[in-house]
């Protein structure tokens, strides 16, 4: 599903994002991306979304080489990926419901389907009551859950989540993890960057560890360490 081949990403100012990364995540896998702050996890995820271009190497997602993808194909590529952003990236002028609905609207789904799916998924993340609030009127954890809901609602074949439980208390985190797990069971590939040691240790899934932009460990049924 996701293939990084010799991928190197250096930012301006000489900051190292990723350095010579080779990794292959199979369809249907559940993988954790761990590492210290600034080790390149978000860079990894942004490369999958084609939000960034690598300096070297190629990223292949769902069999398509992103570096050869035409600009006009990028939106369709992104629709197949549900993404939970570390900084939520909610549209500030839209209510919670409209934010979630937006990623259905871009795929031209009928209004009926939207009216059905959106409250359903918001209920699932525990925000049934806050549907008509603006993002600014939510706590950080609530905003994070809206971002999670938006990533799910499309039933994408690939779900990438950048620290989706960073602002959540342990109980709520477990709820979100169970959701991710259930989604993974239906065949969706899940890649999740996280700092939640407890969670990683409990799940015993594949763990890819980054350090200074390099992969220093890649184990099945691994621990956070």
């Amino acid at each position: 599903m996701i293939k990084f081949e010799n991928v190197t990403k250096h930012y301006d100012m000489g900051n190292v994002g990723l350095q010579d990364v080779n990794v292959h995540i199979e369809r249907g896998e559940f993988a954790f991306l761990v590492g210290h702050s600034g080790s390149g996890k978000s860079t990894f995820i942004r490369l999958i979304l084609k939000e960034l271009e690598p300096n070297e190497g190629t990223v292949t997602v769902a069999g398509r080489n992103l570096q050869r993808m035409r600009r006009s194909a990028v939106p369709y590529h992104r629709r197949n990926i549900g993404c939970v952003f570390q900084d939520f990236k909610l549209l500030p002028n839209k209510t919670v419901a409209d934010n979630v609905a937006y990623s259905l609207r871009v795929t031209n789904q009928p209004a009926r389907a939207i009216r059905r799916k959106v409250p359903e998924i918001l209920q699932l993340v525990g925000l049934g009551e806050k549907m008509n609030n603006l993002p600014d009127e939510l706590s950080a954890g609530e905003q994070q859950r809206v971002s999670v809901a938006r990533a799910f609602v499309n039933h994408p074949s690939l779900l990438v989540a950048d620290e989706p439980t960073g602002n959540l208390d342990p109980d709520t985190s477990v709820g979100i993890m169970q959701l991710l797990y259930r989604i993974n069971r239906t065949g969706t590939t899940v890649l999740m960057a996280t700092h939640d040691r407890e969670m990683v240790d409990k799940m015993r899934k594949r763990v890819i560890a980054l350090e200074g932009g390099r992969i220093i460990r890649d184990e099945d049924k691994g621990l956070y360490r």
């Binding site: 939106p75 369709y76 629709r79 993404c83 990236k89 909610l90 002028n93 990623s103 031209n108």
Partner: protein, 298 residues
Amino acid sequence: MQFKFFFSEAVNSLFKNWVMSVAAIVTVLVSMFLLGIVMILYFNVEDVIKDLRDKLEIEVFIKNTATQDEINQLGEEIQAMPEVKTVYFVSKEEALDRMRESLGENTDILDAMSGNPLPASYEIALKDPEDIRMVAERFFDNPIVDNTPGSDPPDGVKYGAETSERVLRFTTMLLIGLTSFVALLTVASVLLISNTIRLSIFARRREIEIMRLVGATNWFIRWPYVLEGIFTGVMGATVAAVLIILSNNMFSNYIRENIVWLAVQDIPILWMTVIVIGGGAIVGALGSGMALRRFLKV
């Protein structure tokens, strides 16, 4: 095409970002109003200028020695010239009457004159006043025309050489000046409006980035903004049009009452309105579209 969605997005955005909407609408309003006022001025001045230019005419004085046949023939020749709009024959008697009238009560001079020394003449109006010199020159060598030799231009053919040159030059310059000002103002308006719209979209660049990241195509993102630009333009321009019409009415009433002799051109209000509002819409749409290019990287 989800027109309904795009439409409601645009309307919502107008309200949610009302600070920026008001700013943009005010900019459209102000620039369009200025443009409209200057255009009204332009119409009026153009009209006055046309009037003035139309009044430029050639007077061909005929020697007292010319026969009636010769006079008639000259008249036909003039009539046949393609540049000529109208010809009017002033007989010796009419010339005297006119002089008497222009002298008013001071008719002592006329009383002192023996007989009628005034010549008959043809008054020629041209289609294009710019041709005046060219046409006038044709009469300089005519034997029946009363040219006083040696004087340049010959006095017999009066076409207000100096005056008409002045009027032509001055009016041409005025027209060029006003036209440039209207053009300048149009460019300025477009610049100012698209500037404001660009700013208001720039302020929302993160929003656009997010839309791109969740898989919206460029046109899906663009439509609401373009519609919003159109609404902004139309709203500003409509208010401007109303204000322009009101000021035009006030202005022309004032002139009609105070300066009776100055012709007030009736502006083609309907057309003006259509143009102003249409222009607002187009500038709004283009402004948004252009401002977005930067963030859509097309």
